[in-house]
């Protein structure tokens, strides 16, 4: 019998806590609730949750400050809950070590999907000890990282070196959002210029090769103002 995963919900609004914990329970998770940053800190130590859902609007401490202080000693996956039009907040959270974010109002399926992805990535890191998987597939897309081969519905598509590197990076973090900055630094190095135009142009080219209609992409999704996300492999 596999033990249930524990998720710590850090949220001060009781009504929002209620429906989140209901969703978590019906999806087979154990939910524990902290109503403030200080409560959360002690609960992380005592419960050792598998994942933390952190609302950035906490009463006693700035959510981002809490995030950065927790990340100094805790590597549990963290999903931040933010509002729409707070893009810079989301980017900051991701830069400070959050694994993903979810925007209020969020759909149930969206929340459970993000939780699943975050847990899966955490497991992968642990199980394969950092060695990335060699093959990735989602929908009709198949990426072979060793052979540097990309096919869509069996048909091979050719990409430039940079383009392939970007695709590989997205695949390795499939389902998770990657910020523009993160991608720039990973592909072009830590001293890359902060202008993300070059990334946009590359993404546009990738999209045109990969997707049927660049205006309705299936595989590489845009998170406006934040970055990109690759469709998760089912």
């Amino acid at each position: 019998m596999s033990s249930k995963r524990t998720i710590l919900v850090v949220e001060d609004e009781a009504s929002i806590c209620n429906f989140i914990t209901t969703i978590l329970h019906s999806n087979g998770y154990t939910a524990v609730v902290a109503g403030s940053a200080s409560q959360a800190k002690s609960m992380i130590s005592s419960y050792c949750p598998d994942l933390i859902l952190l609302d950035l609007g906490l009463p006693d401490m700035d959510g981002l400050d809490f995030l950065s202080s927790v990340r100094q000693w805790c590597h549990t996956p963290i999903i931040v809950v933010s509002a729409r039009t707070h893009e810079s907040e989301k980017v900051q959270a991701l830069d400070l070590g959050a694994d993903d974010y979810i925007t209020k109002p969020f759909g149930i399926s969206e929340l459970t999907a993000r939780i699943r992805t975050a847990l899966r990535h955490a497991d992968q890191v642990v199980s394969s000890a950092g060695v990335p998987a060699s093959r990735f597939s989602a929908g009709d897309l198949m990426v072979d990282l060793d052979k540097r081969l990309v096919t869509v519905a069996g048909k091979e598509i050719h990409f430039t070196q940079i383009e392939f590197k970007i695709i590989a990076l997205l695949c390795q973090h499939a389902g998770k959002v990657l910020t523009y900055d993160y991608i720039l630094k990973q592909i072009w190095g830590p001293y890359a210029v902060n202008d993300n135009q070059i990334l946009r142009v590359n993404m546009a080219n990738i999209r045109r090769k990969l997707e049927e209609n660049p205006a309705s992409p299936k595989y590489i999704l845009t998170e406006l103002g934040v970055g990109y996300r690759m469709l998760e492999n089912q």
Partner: protein, 379 residues
């Protein structure tokens, strides 16, 4: 006043002073006896006359009379005129010079006084004008302050409204998907309505929040170069979350089009237009979202195959009177706010916004965003 206008007052003054001088001389004659003093007294009279009368006339007249007086009454030979002595022309000329000089000085002094009075009047007017202007400025500043306060209040309220709405939406969605609860079909329908309405309210609040963001600082809009196709894709996927049956045909130019914009705001414009198309045309299929480059503009067009816009609505859109669009019941609910937000956002980007009926009968909403970020002129 001309130099040679006659005035009774002045004549009386002149006569009076001359008489006084004569009387003084007569009185002093036995005391001093010196001729110089008579001249001096008359000079004094001439000076005073010149000072207190208007123009040169009285002064000159007084000089003449004084000269005759001195000659006739107080100089040898007494009680008769004798101009043969060589000193007289000089005396007369001196008197004349004294009188004219004093008259001139008086006139100048008067002019200067008038000027000073004028200047003071001008200064007063300027001061009052300045006061009025600074009052107006104060008013403008106060109005701006009030706007700012109102915006902040609106933002705070909207923010506070978002939280309970999130829980209403979340709780109702959870009840609907929670398979352990046994719900009748009717209950499910009611819950679905709660969820849909709360989601609609959340969207409206987002629109309101955007409006406060824009109106508080219209020129501080932060534009970044964004790929048109990414905005389109995101707007479509966001709208699909609310209307899963949505079928949109989105089309972007083959050549990657970068447009300077605030991505969240333009995404909101597209979401509003798409939702409008769905609600207004009553149809979730056959909606087209097109982007193309037209000269210096990136033009976005959302068209549907619905009933099209009535003349009335088109006119209101042209005039910008969008608030009155919310009168037609459910199908136009939120249209006014949604479209006015679209207009505000596009205007803040220095773009244009148009609505018309397409040839196939449906409505087309089109907006253009400038591709170059030239210096933005204040409207």
């Amino acid at each position: 006043m001309g130099k040679f206008e006659l005035s009774l007052t002045d004549f009386v003054k002149t006569a009076g002073l001359l008489l006084a001088a004569y009387a003084a001389c007569r009185l002093l004659q036995p005391l001093t006896g010196a001729e110089n003093n008579t001249a001096l007294i008359f000079v004094l009279a001439v000076v005073i006359i010149s000072r207190i009368t208007k123009g040169y006339l009285y002064g000159i007249f007084a000089s003449l009379v004084s000269m005759f007086c001195i000659n006739y009454f107080f100089t040898y030979p007494y009680s008769q005129f004798n101009f043969s002595l060589s000193g007289y022309p000089v005396s007369f000329l001196t008197l004349f010079a004294v009188s004219t000089t004093v008259c001139a000085l008086t006139a100048q002094a008067k002019r200067q006084t008038e000027l000073a009075v004028d200047r003071e009047k001008q200064a007063k007017e300027l001061f009052e004008l300045n006061q009025k202007l600074s009052e107006e400025q104060q008013e403008i500043r106060m109005v701006a302050e009030q706007e700012k306060i109102r915006n902040n209040l609106l933002r705070a309220i909207s923010h506070d409204l978002r939280t309970p709405l999130t829980s209403i939406f979340g709780s109702s969605s959870t009840l609907l998907t929670d398979s352990t609860e046994a719900l009748s079909n009717n209950s499910k329908k009611l819950l679905a309505d709660i969820r849909d309405d709360s989601e609609w309210l959340i969207r409206m609040i987002e629109n309101l929040l955007i409006v406060t963001k824009i109106s508080s600082s219209p020129t501080a809009l932060k534009k970044t170069e964004e790929a048109a196709e990414e905005i389109v894709a995101e707007a479509v996927s966001q709208t699909k979350k609310r209307y899963p049956k949505l079928e949109v045909t989105a089309h972007v130019p083959d050549q990657l089009l970068f447009v300077p914009m605030d991505p969240i705001l333009i995404e909101q414009v597209l979401i509003n237009l798409l939702e409008n198309a769905i609600r207004h045309s009553g149809d979730t299929s056959h909606i087209l979202l097109d982007v193309e480059k037209d000269g210096d503009y990136a033009v976005f067009a959302v068209s549907d195959r619905g009933r099209g816009l009535t003349e009335e609505i088109l006119k209101m859109l042209e005039k910008g009177k969008l608030q009155s669009l919310n009168t037609g019941g459910d199908s136009t609910r939120g249209m006014g706010i949604g479209l006015s937000v679209c207009q505000s956002i596009v205007q803040a980007h220095n773009g244009y916004f148009k609505a018309e009926n397409s040839r196939s009968g449906g409505a087309v909403f089109r907006f253009g965003l400038p591709l170059t970020t030239q210096k933005e002129e204040t409207p």
